[in-house]
Amino acid sequence: MSRDKVSCDHLVAALSANLCAVPRHGPARRLVIGLVIGGAVTLAALALGLGIRRDLADAMQSSGFWMKALYAATLAMFACAATLRLARPDCGRMRGLWAMAVPIALLALAALLELARTPGSQWLTMWLGHSWKVCAANVFLLALPILAGLLWALRRLAPTRLRLAGATAGLAAGAWAACLYCLHCSETSALFVLTWYSLGIVLVAGLGALLGPRVLRW
């Protein structure tokens, strides 16, 4: 018992001896660093590998472009907020996760309106677009650097719900990757985005949930 007391005193002395101040909002900073580094890699891969669409300036005038970008960006921000919260040990109940249903519901509404305006014979073409086979895969691959950055950041933080933290990090990575993918992709249908973008994002979230308990233990 006394030996334990001594080693505990030693530990307390050692820990407090070389104390340095920690920056305010440390977890947010760290997650942003991971996000920015991962995002830069993704952007470079997108520009060099897939290429940025030539008519980007024109496309940015259209509502279809912003619908895609806003859908992905809001989802990404909600997922980032959830990840930031899960980075703390006392994250409590995660009721806020339901907020992510809002952008999804809005896009689903847009898809319904779109279906109502289009003759049934064109629904399939609209749904599959010209790139449905590669869209989800592209989003998934582009998300990997961002996911790596976020997991790197989380490893030094203190998540206690590892699977959920991994999943929200994956969701954030997928959604940011989808947001950047808008710079390449020329699809305009809400139904297309709702299906194939979301599929890619969900796959990354699944990967995050799988990796979380292995990678984030501390």
Partner: protein, 179 residues
Amino acid sequence: MRTGESELRDWMILALNGDAKAYARLLEALVPRLRAFFRRRMAGQDDDIEDLLQETLIALHTRRMTYDPTRSFTGWLYAIARYKMIDHFRRRGRTVPIEGLEDSFSIDSFEDEVGAGLDTDALLATIPDKQARAIRATRIDGLSTAEAARREGMGESDVKVSTHRGLKALAARVREAMK
């Protein structure tokens, strides 16, 4: 005197700004609290508790940036302690069956078996000899009724009836003993 949430929190905030003295005071105040926390949940595992205590102190040190000064300090502290304890159980749950394999196969089960044998002998001594022999033959040595009848020189129906009556008597003994 026991320090409360607000004092611990003040020390923690000073520590986050680099005040080593406040930090040392904080850690010293946390040691008994954490020890009590683990003792309540892991009675009789003193060695594990000391390891866990030190691990928790190190974890809260390296991850102190995750404390949000606008929130409860003890909530944050015990969330870390709880996580470390669960992680400890998980790790031990995974390793002990392998580390302790020989023990759990030999010593424990040997002792249990000897103990069970002694208990059985003592119990069987309390019922009539014929019933005890019938039970031993059919239930412990695993003979069939016919084999038991031949070995013990009894009729087959006698074996059945004796076993039945003996077991009933034993059950009554055990029930009495449990009261």
